[in-house]
C-alpha cells in the first residue's frame, strides 16, 4: 500500500497491516486486517469502554467484532482522514497510480545509469523493483548526498533502510534511496539528476 494493488482474499492472508501515513492519510492510525475466524477465537488485547457485552460479578462477555478490539475512546479524526485518503486513492485507481510511478522510475533509472559515478542497487526491471531506487554516488557518503539534495529541495532517505545484512552483502556502508509517489513529475526527476551532479561538486569532485 499504496504502490501495489492488495487483495487479502487472493493472498490468503491471516493478518495484514499498513500505516495511514503511507497512503497519504493522517499519522497515528493504520489498518489491521484479520481473518474473521481467527479474530473470533482471540481474546481482547485491551479492556475499556465499548468492548463489553454483559458484565457479571465473576464473568463477562465481550462485544462482537470489531468492537471487541476497539476499547476506549476511538481516534475518530484519524479514521475519517484515513477513509478520505483511501477514497481518494480508489478514485484515481491503483493501476493508474502504479503506472505513473513506474514511468517515473524507468525515467530515473535511465538517467541515473548514464552517470558513470553512480551505482544503482537492485534490478533494472521496474516491475520487480517497484517505485524505489537505492543508489550510491562514488566518493560521497549517503548522509552527505541526502543533506545536499535536501538543500536542492529533493528529499531522499539515507542510511541502512532497516536492512543491515543487505548493506553488508552490497559492501556499502549505507545507501541513498529515492522513492516516487503519485504527485511526482518527470521535471522533478530532472531536478534530482541535476542535484546529484551538484553533490559531487560540493564534495570536491569537479563533476
Amino acid at each position: 500500500m499504496p504502490h501495489l494493488p492488495v487483495d487479502v482474499q487472493a493472498l490468503g492472508a491471516d493478518f495484514l497491516a499498513f500505516s495511514g501515513h503511507k497512503v497519504y492519510g493522517p499519522m497515528g492510525i493504520g489498518v489491521l486486517y484479520g481473518r474473521e475466524e481467527l479474530l473470533l477465537t482471540m481474546p481482547p488485547y485491551q479492556y475499556g469502554g465499548d468492548m463489553i457485552e454483559y458484565v457479571e460479578e465473576q464473568s463477562s462477555t465481550f462485544a462482537d467484532l470489531p468492537n471487541k478490539f476497539e476499547a476506549g475512546t476511538p481516534n475518530v479524526e484519524g479514521a475519517v482522514g484515513l477513509a478520505a485518503a483511501l477514497d481518494y486513492l480508489e478514485g484515481l485507481g491503483p493501476k493508474n497510480i502504479l503506472r505513473h510511478e513506474l514511468e517515473l522510475t524507468a525515467y530515473a533509472l535511465a538517467e541515473l545509469s548514464r552517470i558513470p559515478w553512480v551505482t544503482i542497487h537492485g534490478p533494472r526491471d521496474t516491475v520487480e523493483r517497484g517505485p524505489v531506487i537505492s543508489f550510491a554516488v562514488e566518493g560521497c557518503h549517503p548522509h552527505d548526498v541526502a543533506t545536499i539534495l535536501d538543500c536542492h529541495g529533493v528529499a531522499v532517505r539515507a542510511g541502512h533502510h532497516c536492512a543491515q545484512p543487505l548493506m553488508h552483502y552490497l559492501k556499502a556502508p549505507a545507501s541513498s534511496r529515492v522513492s516516487f509517489a503519485l504527485y511526482n513529475t518527470p521535471a522533478e526527476v530532472d531536478i534530482l539528476i541535476a542535484s546529484i551532479y551538484d553533490v559531487r561538486k560540493w564534495l570536491g569532485y569537479g563533476s
Binding site: 557518503h141 548522509h143 552527505d144 543533506t147 545536499i148 538543500c151 542510511g159 541502512h160 556502508p173 560540493w202
Partner: protein, 143 residues
C-alpha cells in the same frame, strides 16, 4: 540552509586526507563508536601516559562530517591532559547544542570551529558529535 557553511575546504580536507587516519601501534586504549541508524563507524586509538594524550589516531568510515569531526578532534586533544581534553569536548558539545554565550572564544577549538554550522542541521548532529562522545568513553574505560 547554506551548504557553503558546511562543506568547506577544511572539512573536505580532514575527511579525505587526514594524517590522523591510521593505526596506533602503542595505543593504551581503544574505543569503537557508531551511529547504528545511519552507519557512521569509527575506532579511536589513544596513547595516554601520565594523564596526557601523547598520541591519537582513528580508523573507520562514514560521512564527510563524521570523518572530518574525528580528525579535527584528534588534532585538538593530542598533547593535552585528559582533563584539558575533557574541557574542550564539553565546549564543542555545547557549541553544537547552541548553549554557549557570545563571549566564549571558540578559537580554542581549532579547526573544529568549522563544524559550528551543524548546529542548524538536526539530522547531522549525530555525525558531528560521534567522535567526541567516543573519546569520552575511551578515557573513561582506558585511562
Amino acid at each position: 540552509m547554506d551548504l557553503s557553511t558546511l562543506y568547506t575546504e577544511i572539512i573536505l580536507q580532514h575527511s579525505r586526507n587526514s594524517q590522523n587516519r591510521r593505526q596506533l601501534p602503542c595505543a593504551t586504549c581503544k574505543e569503537r563508536g557508531h551511529n547504528p541508524t545511519c552507519g557512521d563507524d569509527i575506532t579511536i586509538e589513544l596513547q595516554v601516559e601520565d594523564g596526557r594524550v601523547v598520541d591519537a589516531a582513528f580508523t573507520g568510515q562514514g560521512c564527510a562530517i563524521s570523518q572530518a569531526s574525528t580528525s579535527m578532534m584528534i588534532d585538538l586533544v593530542r598533547g593535552k591532559t585528559t582533563a584539558e581534553a575533557q574541557q574542550l569536548i564539553d565546549m564543542f558539545l555545547a557549541m553544537i547544542r547552541q548553549e554557549l554565550g557570545s563571549d566564549v572564544d571558540l578559537n580554542v577549538l581549532g579547526d573544529a570551529i568549522a563544524l559550528q554550522g551543524v548546529a542548524q542541521m538536526p539530522a547531522r548532529v549525530k555525525c558531528a558529535v560521534l567522535a567526541w562522545h567516543t573519546f569520552q568513553e575511551a578515557i573513561k574505560t582506558g585511562a
